[in-house]
Subunit: 147 residues, 2 copies
DNA sequence: AACTAATATTTCGCATACGAAGTATTATAT
DNA sequence: ATATAATACTTCGTATGCGAAATATTAGTT
């Protein structure tokens, strides 16, 4: 009986994640960008310049994954890689000049979508969700060492 | 300010999902199977026979995704496809005879892992998590029609 | 019965997503 | 100063994961 709750929780996470991704794809469809592409553009419109590893950390992705996404954004002409002068191992990702008008649009689209998640949710509901997610995160992250 | 909570929630979901997947990969590493492969073997050891579309529904995946996973499990000799006699459009996925000893092992491994999620979690914590996830799921799923 | 619609699955093209290995550069140790 | 280790990123191979289109079969219409 012990694994029943774990099973239910794992299943719910999978389902919620899938739903969220589907809605993100739908919301960004007009822009012809995928969710992670859009999120990176969003972050760049706020930060103006990010290291590949910073993007990986913020988005919880492996460097190799981000590198591939940047490849495609670069090919689309939306960003450019710039090697750091200070430390030439570092690659800065910057929004490109020629797509500057789009940046505001991307930013607004993402902001708007993120708003809809909690739109017409009560404060109580938001608290419930945040509490539950934080608790689950803690449960998952501690149980490294044992016996 | 409105999108801040939405952003935080989306980010937490991503992070939790990634953590869960990483732990699943780690737990199933010994078996040389990926998480979805392992989950399908788990389901088959309980049900003995499932339609492709049933697997898709239970796992919240597109049929095309499941079809690919079954391809690889079949290539490994762990399952076999059997066309239904009743409705020849339907494909039944069955555990293979030659891997029968492994099935119990797979089942135990999955059961054990699902147990660890809630292991040494208090009832209060489990309730918090369940409440939060259910609330979030409801929030995401209702906002189809509007204005 | 012939035609059309619906259903179940597969195939295809593409974009994540990961870890391992490779490359280049910088930091550290001897 | 040179060898070694650490860091940042890319490349490679493989497995999801999706939607759209293709295929095969069954159900429903006329």
């Amino acid at each position: 009986m012990k694994h029943e709750k774990g099973s239910e929780i794992a299943s719910l996470i999978r389902e919620i994640n899938a739903t969220l991704n589907a809605q993100l794809r739908e919301a960004f469809k007009e822009n012809n960008l995928t969710p992670p592409q859009m999120m990176i553009m969003f972050m760049l419109s706020e930060e103006k310049k990010l290291k590949v590893s910073e993007i990986s950390t913020k988005m919880n992705l492996a460097n190799s994954t981000v590198s591939g996404i940047i490849d495609r954004l670069e090919k689309l002409g939306y960003v450019q890689r710039v090697r750091s002068e200070v430390d030439r191992r570092v690659v800065h990702v910057e929004p490109s000049k020629q797509a500057e008008e789009l940046h505001k649009l991307f930013h607004d689209t993402v902001t708007q979508f993120l708003g809809t998640i909690v739109e017409d949710a009560t404060d109580k509901q938001i608290t419930e969700v945040m509490t539950g997610l934080n608790t689950l995160q803690k449960l998952l992250n501690r149980e490294k060492q044992k016996d």
